[in-house]
């Protein structure tokens, strides 16, 4: 069993949790994820590791209450409770070296997983320009935390209620238009945002990496449910990724594959929950 050491609601529907998992905390490298099972009969859900503290034996996850299991985790589990299973760290770690200047972009919930990546890149000697974006001011989180691991931090909101108005891609274009040297871009967030970044940087020929979040069962290379075409070849996101060269991801396929269980998932949420907010989340 894996104890929840702390819980904090960062924004409506966005929850941060600390979990006691000493082995995972010790082995974790940026870009890796873990699988959580709330209870014995729950599904296994993949969540990126947002931070780890080997001394405390603790890992941090940040998740959006979007499906049956994340809603249950956010609403029914509290500090001191135990999770049935947590396994990780899984996936190939993000490739980190001194690239020069790296723009790291986090959209919405994607702000959490870029934290260890920014930290790793900064430690490797890079100039790290971090762009984080949210829909509105009231759902922002981790601004200071990201600032502490960035050489420069740009914050945007879709509605302009905080920082620059617009999408993260607008901030990226601005950097490019200003003639800033960009050696690499790393983008994590909703698939639509990652694709937009990819489309923007392709003509600039700037190496761009994204972290894919397809559907998985085991997360260890066994089921192949996460497979997606990368450069004409079928790859397993759980073991070959989750990081891939954005310019060769088959995005149409990736988007289609995210929807395999939309019908079943909506039914499960409806059966368990009458909350409009959550259904809105699924639709997005």
């Amino acid at each position: 069993m894996y104890k929840i050491t702390r819980k904090k609601v960062l924004a409506p529907g966005v929850v941060e949790m600390g979990i006691l998992a000493p082995r995972i905390a010790k082995a974790h490298k940026p870009g890796q994820f873990l699988m959580v099972m709330n209870r014995e009969e729950s599904e296994r859900i993949p969540l990126t590791i947002a931070d780890s503290d080997p001394a405390k034996g603790e890992v941090t996850i940040v998740f959006l209450e979007v499906g049956r299991s994340t809603i249950e985790l956010g609403e029914q589990f509290n500090e001191g409770d135990e999770l049935f299973a947590v396994v990780g760290p899984l996936g190939t770690p993000t490739h980190i070296e001194n690239f020069g200047t790296v723009v790291v972009m986090g959209g919405g919930l994607g702000v959490a997983p870029i934290y260890p990546i920014c930290k790793g890149l900064k430690a490797a000697g890079n100039t790290v320009i971090t762009i984080i974006g949210y829909r509105r001011k009231d759902i922002m989180f981790w601004e200071d935390k990201l600032r502490s691991v960035s050489s420069e931090l740009i914050v945007s909101t879709d509605d302009g209620s905080y920082g620059t108005k617009g999408f993260v891609t607008d901030s990226l274009r601005k950097l490019h238009d200003e003639g800033r040297k960009i050696d690499r871009v790393i983008a994590i967030g909703p698939p639509i945002m990652m694709r937009a970044v990819s489309d923007m940087t392709r003509p600039w020929a700037v190496p761009t990496w994204v972290s894919l979040n397809t559907i998985m069962v085991d997360g260890t290379g066994m089921c192949g449910g996460c497979r997606v075409e990368i450069g004409k070849e079928s790859k397993f996101v759980c073991v070959d990724g989750p990081d891939f060269d954005a310019h060769i991801v088959n995005w149409d396929q990736m988007f289609a594959r995210m929807k395999v269980y939309t019908t079943e998932e909506r039914a499960a949420v409806l059966a368990n929950h009458e909350c409009k907010l959550h259904l809105d989340n699924i639709k997005r």
Partner: protein, 494 residues
């Protein structure tokens, strides 16, 4: 042992009496759930012998002095001996007898292909054709009886004094469990690591409930645990714990990580929604219990028309699950003919009874999708059989111009699994075949890395539970010898 058995009433052999075998009688069939009933549930199909049936069947056994069945059994269970104990009403003793050779008798009694092994070798076939002793059913009966009735503490098992050696076993499928059980009995400290959240490996995620109830698997595992084996789930060796840490912390290591990587055909459209690897489909249903509807968190796609590609054990499991999920039509698409099907006879029969269709000498060429990216059909090609290939079976050859379309909304690709590369990729010097199948010395089971042994599907590619069990046992014996005399040349290529 608290069990009262009136052997005279059951028609067996009384204390002090001599057995008069009734080998001329017909083999006693096993009761099964009716087709109409079982198609609506996931309960076990073959119901098993009761005590009277088991004794009656055991009374047919000649208890040969030179039993051919024992030779044919991959783990050489003392078959006449345990059947003799059943004839005499000593059911738990019979199970204990089997357990000396096989740590998982309730499992093997159900899923072992006895028809090609011990039962094929039974001498009764010579005089009473097609009526060998039902060895598998008797094994299942004795073991289940013990699991249900007897006080089966490890105290009753002969365990050697502690040796002080520490062994790590990676993977808790049949090979890992068997190896761990034997090593523990030999007095070694065994730490067993499992990547998933429940021990059992393929017994839990692969084989469906209606063929192998998970409660039975967990009871067998409890037995292995009772021998003193430490089991830790949620540990992916190579990720959660570096392989090197295992190498440094143990005197010997047994890699039994199975064959968990699903093979796909790499044909156009294979990544459409609704096309699954057998691993994914089975894991959702078996391990994650997606069939329990709302109770379980894991969703499953309910098919209307299912197509299953392949004809091994796995394919039949999948086609039968599809029917239970409510498919109006579920077909096996296989590129060879009925005779070449590698599946077990009973499974093929049960599938047909339950309404599965066989589309033989046919192979998928590409998949067709709808506007939302979901599969709506498969284009197949007819095949004919040519000259025998390396497997000895006649090679299927496509017939040009024979393509046609089959409508479907679910496809499961069940054409085999290969081992996961994680562990070999992290052990420099570990030799493999085809990039992932670990090479071992065929006598000692040692890999090309000193003190690391391997067995089960990890060294063969996907095979059977009983072969994995044998590898686990034989490797345990070799590892025991190695621990006592590590200086010998252990891993010269065999």
């Amino acid at each position: 042992m608290a069990e009262s058995i009136d052997i005279a009433a059951l028609g067996g052999v009384k204390e002090g009496e001599k057995k008069r075998p009734r080998s001329k009688e017909k083999r006693l069939e096993i009761a099964c759930q009716s087709v109409q009933a079982r198609i609506t549930n996931y309960d076990e199909v073959a119901l098993g012998y009761g005590p009277a049936e088991a004794v009656a069947e055991s009374m047919r056994c000649l208890e040969c002095p030179r039993p051919r069945c024992m030779v044919a059994c991959p783990v050489h269970i003392a078959i006449p001996s345990f059947i003799g104990l059943i004839s005499r009403g000593k059911f738990s003793e019979a199970a204990q007898d089997i357990r000396q050779y096989n740590a998982l008798p309730s499992v093997c009694g159900r899923v072992c292909p006895q028809e090609n092994l011990c039962e094929a070798a039974c001498i009764i076939n010579d005089t009473n054709e097609h009526n060998p002793i039902a060895i598998g059913r008797l094994e299942r009966f004795a073991s289940d009886w013990q699991l249900l009735h007897a006080d089966r503490e490890s105290a009753s098992v002969h365990k050697k004094p502690a040796t002080g050696f520490k062994v790590a076993v990676i993977g808790s499928g049949p090979a890992g469990l068997s190896c761990s059980a034997d090593l523990a009995k030999m007095g070694h400290q065994v730490d067993l690591f499992e990547a998933l959240h429940k021990p059992g490996g393929v017994l839990m995620y692969g084989i469906p409930e209606f063929r192998l109830p998970k409660a039975i698997v967990q009871k067998e595992i409890a037995y292995v645990r009772s021998l003193g084996v430490n089991m830790e789930c949620n540990v992916v060796v190579g990720r959660t714990v570096p392989v090197q840490e295992i190498m440094d912390g143990y005197d010997a290591v047994f890699v039994a990580s199975g064959a968990g990587f699903p093979n796909m055909m790499n044909i156009p459209g294979e990544n459409l929604n609704g096309i699954f690897s057998a691993n994914e489909f089975l894991t959702r249903v078996n391990l994650m219990k997606a069939w329990t509807d709302n109770a379980a968190g894991t969703p499953i796609r309910k098919p209307r028309k299912a197509v299953v590609v392949g004809a091994g054990f796995t394919a039949f499991d999948v086609v039968r699950i599809s029917l239970r999920l409510g498919a109006q039509e579920a077909s096996i698409v296989y590129r060879r003919s009925r005779e070449e099907m590698p599946g077990r006879g009973e499974e093929i029969e049960h599938s047909l009874e339950e309404g599965a269709k066989f589309i033989l000498l046919t192979n998928p060429v590409k998949y067709l999708g709808d506007e939302n990216g979901f599969v709506r059909g498969v284009v197949v090609q007819k095949m004919e059989l040519g000259e025998p290939d390396s497997s000895g079976r006649r090679r299927p050859v496509p017939i040009p111009g024979s393509e046609y379309e089959i409508e479907c909304d679910l496809v499961v690709v069940a054409i085999g699994q290969t081992p996961n590369v994680l562990i070999p990729s992290q052990l420099p010097g570990m030799a493999t075949r085809w990039g992932s199948v670990i090479k071992v010395n065929r006598e000692t089971y040692m890999t090309t890395v000193p003190k690391v042994f391997a067995g089960g599907d990890a060294i063969t590619g996907a095979a059977t539970v009983i072969l994995a069990t044998r590898a686990g046992r034989e490797a345990a014996r070799a590892m025991d010898a190695y621990l006592r005399d590590p200086g010998r040349n252990w891993n010269s290529p065999a």
